[in-house]
């Protein structure tokens, strides 16, 4: 038995949002009488942090502390229409709608504050800590809370905003495929290190190095959670999972997690992530959705690393020990492909 080390690379890009557009999202923002702001949506939080990231976007666009913003979502009687949380569209589409709604509410907030301070609203800025003051003169200020009270009980004014974001629907040409798909792409490049046991065919992924370009990490911890979880899912997809192990034959389909294989805590792989941020012009604060794309480069990188380790090309997923052993048998044994070309002493 020999453990053969292998290294594989893959790079991808990923389109953000429903591919051909036509998928609107709406948001409403209003103030409570004590100067807090409620964001009302119908977006779904799948665990990806939809509620959190829209809260941050609203706080940033309003210019107030995040502790003063709450997000209420996913009641069709109160939340305005949203197409849904899929196609990496949540942050991009809903985030843009929230920016618009929050911007309108902010405009009204500054107008109300201007009336109280007897200045021009255009001269007012927010400090992000709950105060509104005259630009360059922090002492001439009013709190957001006092502004909301004055607007509500004295001026008879709402501090509220509406937002919608819609990418217009694109046609697809029948003859050439010409289309205007999404306008925003995330990127990733990833290197997998693994070992292949030439006796059992078992692959053990030992290390992941990655670079993910996400536009802007609106919440770095949520991005980190997505990228680590997504890479795990990619390894699972590459090496373990299938509902139809004999595809296209449907026999022996798993019906529980005893027979539907996935890596467990023992197979969590050290993952060293670099995050690049090239803000997308049409995205909220430039942020692209990292949710879907993070698993994609893992699959081919694993396949390329297996080839690098033992010289077996597994072009069908999942890359099971059986497929590797059959490949080794066909090749008459392991054929390690060696180090990258530019390495001193590398192959060829």
């Amino acid at each position: 038995m020999t453990l053969h080390p292998g290294r594989g690379f893959a790079a991808i890009n990923y389109p953000i949002g429903m591919n051909l557009g036509g998928d609107p999202s709406q948001a409403l923002v209003h103030s409570t009488p004590d100067g807090k702001f409620m964001v009302t949506l119908s977006a779904i939080d799948l665990g990806q942090g939809m509620k959190s990231v829209t809260r941050q976007i609203a706080a940033e666009a309003l210019g107030i502390p995040i502790s003063d913003v709450y997000v209420d979502t996913a009641d069709s009687d109160t939340g305005p229409h949203d197409m849904g949380s899929f196609a990496s569209r949540g942050t991009h589409r809903m985030g843009n709608a929230v920016i618009r709604a929050a911007t309108e509410a902010r405009t009204q907030m500054l107008e109300a504050a201007a009336e109280e301070l007897e200045v021009d609203a255009a001269d007012l800025v927010t400090d992000g800590k709950g105060n509104i003051h005259v630009r360059g003169a922090p002492s001439r200020s009013i709190t957001v809370a006092d502004t909301a009270v004055a607007a509500q009980f004295k001026q008879g004014r709402t501090l509220a905003g509406r937002g919608i974001f819609l990418v217009p629907l694109s046609d697809v040409d029948a003859e050439t495929g010409e289309m205007t798909p999404v306008s925003c792409f995330a990127h990733a490049a990833l290197i997998i290190d693994l070992t292949v046991d030439d006796e059992t065919g078992v692959v053990e992924v030992t290390n992941i190095n990655s670079a993910y370009e996400v536009g802007r990490a609106l919440n770095p911890k949520l991005v980190e959670q997505q990228l680590i979880g997504g890479a795990w899912m990619g390894i699972s997809h590459a090496l373990y999972e299938t509902t139809e192990p004999n595809y296209p034959d449907r026999s022996h389909g798993p019906e529980d997690f005893n027979t539907y294989l996935m890596p467990g805590p023992g197979e969590i792989v050290p993952h060293h992530i670099s995050i690049l941020e090239r803000p997308a012009p049409d995205a909220p604060y430039g942020g692209k959705g990292p949710g879907e794309m993070c698993a994609n480069p893992v699959l081919p990188a694993v396949a390329n690393a297996v080839y690098n380790a033992v010289g077996v090309r597994c072009d069908s997923l999942p890359i099971t020990p059986e497929k590797i052993l059959r490949g080794l048998k066909a090749n008459g044994g392991a054929r390690p492909q060696g180090q990258p070309l530019n390495t001193p002493g590398g192959r060829r």
Binding site: N13, G84, Y260, R278, T343
Partner: protein, 634 residues
């Protein structure tokens, strides 16, 4: 696990002076999650809740002769059977909400089942056990029919018809073709000129979204002749609209509540449970729960579909890919769901993040007698990316080139014309490759490290649409009659030509149709907009490396009708003298080698998170399960 932020890259496009954006703020809902108090749909345990289960087909394909449910109906606890005739509008397709495709899937199958597990009847009982027992007593008389499970078998003339709405076993595109075409340049001519042809076939098998919380819904009658539905859906109004259509009721009579979901990954868009649960509540006047168990989630719930991709590359000795052709098959299973749309999404993604001047693809949405497939994380892209990136390594091996350098050589850059005929922008593939190679100790040449997404794109032929060869092969029904091969141009008797064009003919994005009063304040959105560096053709101040000696540099101007477009190797910059003033330092390409990582990621707030008020709920109370958090009401 280490995370670093390369704030040094693209810093001149970003304003990092923001208050809340970019902060590692703790999630608003996390305390509820970690203390088991967040309400999920399954926590809405109404008193008198009824349970729904389905009778399912044991066959891949069969005619239903008769259904005998008399014994089931007499079982203790059984409240109501739901037959296909009870569904007001028993035919739908999910994407009818965006007017894409024809209705092709019943909520409950009436005359024919087309996959193993297809529901033919639902039973509502006072307990889950009683519903399951009653399901076991239903006798369905099936006449088995021939079935087809492989996508390419399904295209053959003798294949049985899977879906009567699409009798050719393929989704109809544009009322004309049985596949979606992509044609860009002239792949056939380019293959003839290529030094090497690299071919491969790649297969993705179906996988399960595997959420911890299985799909489901609980519906109950509300006042004012309305119904409330607590659901695990990923798309609240999508499910609401689908339910209104299938149940033939105004959407205003539906009140959907969701929002906290125990994992989705794409499998909770299909909107099957909501109409079933609401229909149950309508027919019984009681709250009804319909939820998959794990076996249903895995075998009846729509998986990520199998996909098969064949790639053919024309590669030059120096590593340039001058042509790439795809043949792709999406295994939709028995009904369309969202697969037809994924075909177009995949088509728009081809040929991957690379500047390849001649591209063609035929992509098929194929019906087979298996569980319908649906969306999953990376929908439409994951499988073809697997194919493309395995294939890139084969191309690199064929020409004896480092695989990362091959990617950088062929990478798309700002201003490059993509195969769907829009200019690329906001590219960052090259930088991603450089960063990961550098941190992994994978050596790249100085030349590869000097490349940049910002420069060299859109120059000459890279920025224009080449004259394109088209064909009319694969009309709807043609394949069934003649057994046509699926590859691009296979069986084409004539060629058409679409003249060359430029990017300016096609704005990259339309103007969003938002009302003008829905303004944003551009200066507060975190962009630095002073720099014009992303304009196509902009060149760096410092000289770029010269093309590799082996490279043959093609003429820069488009040559209509003069054969396939050929890109130069690393695009040479315009002479520096064309720059009247040296751009500021910030516009230089990435230094060689890139600067070491900047300051590490902004550390999370040093002080651990503390709630404003001590958290009271969620503590373990004697005699109360920590895992029951549902609201109870009559």
């Amino acid at each position: 696990m280490a995370v670093e932020f390369r704030k040094d890259l693209f810093a001149d496009e970003r304003d990092d002076d923001l208050n809340e954006i970019g902060q590692p703020i703790i999630r608003q809902d996390i305390l509820g999650h970690v203390t088991g108090r967040s309400p999920f749909y399954d926590d809405h345990l109404y008193d008198g809740l009824l349970f729904m289960r389905c009778v399912r087909s044991p066959h891949h394909h069969a005619r239903i002769r008769s259904v005998d449910a008399a014994a089931a109906e007499r079982m203790p606890g059984v409240i109501r059977l739901i037959r296909p005739q009870d569904v007001p509008v028993n035919l739908n397709t999910l994407l009818s909400l965006i007017s894409f495709g024809r209705d092709d899937e019943p909520l409950l199958a009436e005359h024919r089942v087309a996959y193993k597990g297809e529901p033919v009847m639902a039973i509502i009982a006072t307990s889950d056990r009683a519903a399951l027992d009653a399901v076991a007593r239903v006798r369905v008389d099936y006449e088995e029919l021939p079935h087809v499970l492989d996508v390419e078998d399904a295209l053959k003339p003798e294949a049985p018809v899977v879906n009567e709405t699409y009798p050719n076993n393929t989704f109809d595109y544009h009322d004309r073709y049985d596949h979606q075409k992509l044609r860009f340049g002239d792949v056939e001519a380019a293959f003839a000129q290529a030094d090497h042809i690299v071919e491969g076939e790649y297969q993705m098998s179906p996988i399960e979204q595997a959420p911890i919380e299985t799909c489901g819904a609980i519906a109950a009658p509300e006042t004012n002749d309305r119904y409330v539905c607590h659901t695990s859906t990923q798309a609240l109004f999508f499910s609401l609209g689908t339910t209104a259509k299938l149940l033939d009721m105004p959407s205003s009579r539906l009140h959907f509540i969701g929002g906290t979901v125990g994992g989705g990954f794409g499998g909770k868009v299909d909107s099957h449970h909501e109409p079933m649960a609401v229909l149950g509540a309508m027919l019984t006047g009681k709250p009804v729960k319909y939820m998959w168990d794990r076996a249903e989630e895995m075998q009846v719930g729509a998986p990520r579909g199998g996909e098969r991709w064949r790639l053919k590359d024309g590669v030059m000795r120096d590593g340039r890919i001058i042509a790439r052709a795809f043949t792709g098959f999406f295994d939709a299973g028995a009904y369309t769901r969202l697969s037809s749309y994924a075909v177009q999404k995949a088509t728009g993604h081809l040929p991957g993040p690379y500047m390849i001047p001649n591209v063609a693809s035929n992509v098929y949405c194929v019906y087979t007698n298996r569980t319908p497939s649906t969306a999953m994380r990376g929908f439409g892209i994951t499988a073809v990316d697997f194919a493309i990136e395995c294939h890139m390594d084969k191309a690199a091996e064929t020409v004896g080139m480092d695989p990362i350098e091959l990617r950088i050589l062929n990478a798309y850059r700002d201003g490059d014309m993509k195969a769907h005929r829009r200019a690329a922008k906001n590219c960052a593939l090259i930088e991603s490759c450089q960063v990961v190679a550098q941190k992994s100790g994978w050596p790249l040449s100085a030349e590869a490290m000097a490349q940049s997404s910002l420069f060299g794109g859109g120059i000459g032929e890279r920025g224009v649409i080449p004259e394109t060869v088209t064909d009319q092969a694969g009309q709807i029904g043609e394949r069934k009659r003649s057994g046509l091969a699926p590859e691009p141009f296979a069986g084409a008797t004539a060629r058409g030509h679409v003249p060359a064009g430029t990017a300016t003919d096609h704005p990259a994005t339309g103007n969003a149709p938002q009302r003008e009063d829905m303004e944003i304040e551009a200066e507060r959105l975190g962009f630095k907009v002073t720099r014009g560096a992303s304009a196509p053709g902009q060149t760096p101040a410092s000289p770029m490396p010269q093309p590799q000696p082996a490279a043959t540099v093609a003429p820069a101007a488009p040559r209509p009708g003069a054969g396939p477009a050929m890109p130069p190797a690393y695009t040479a910059p315009a002479p520096a003298s064309q720059q009247p003033v040296a751009p500021p330092a910030s516009t230089r390409p990435q230094p060689t080698p890139p600067t070491p990582p900047a300051a590490p990621a902004p550390a999370p707030a040093a002080e651990p998170y503390k709630p404003e008020q001590p958290f009271q709920r969620g503590v373990k109370r004697p005699g109360v399960s920590r895992f029951i958090s549902g609201s109870r009401r009559r």
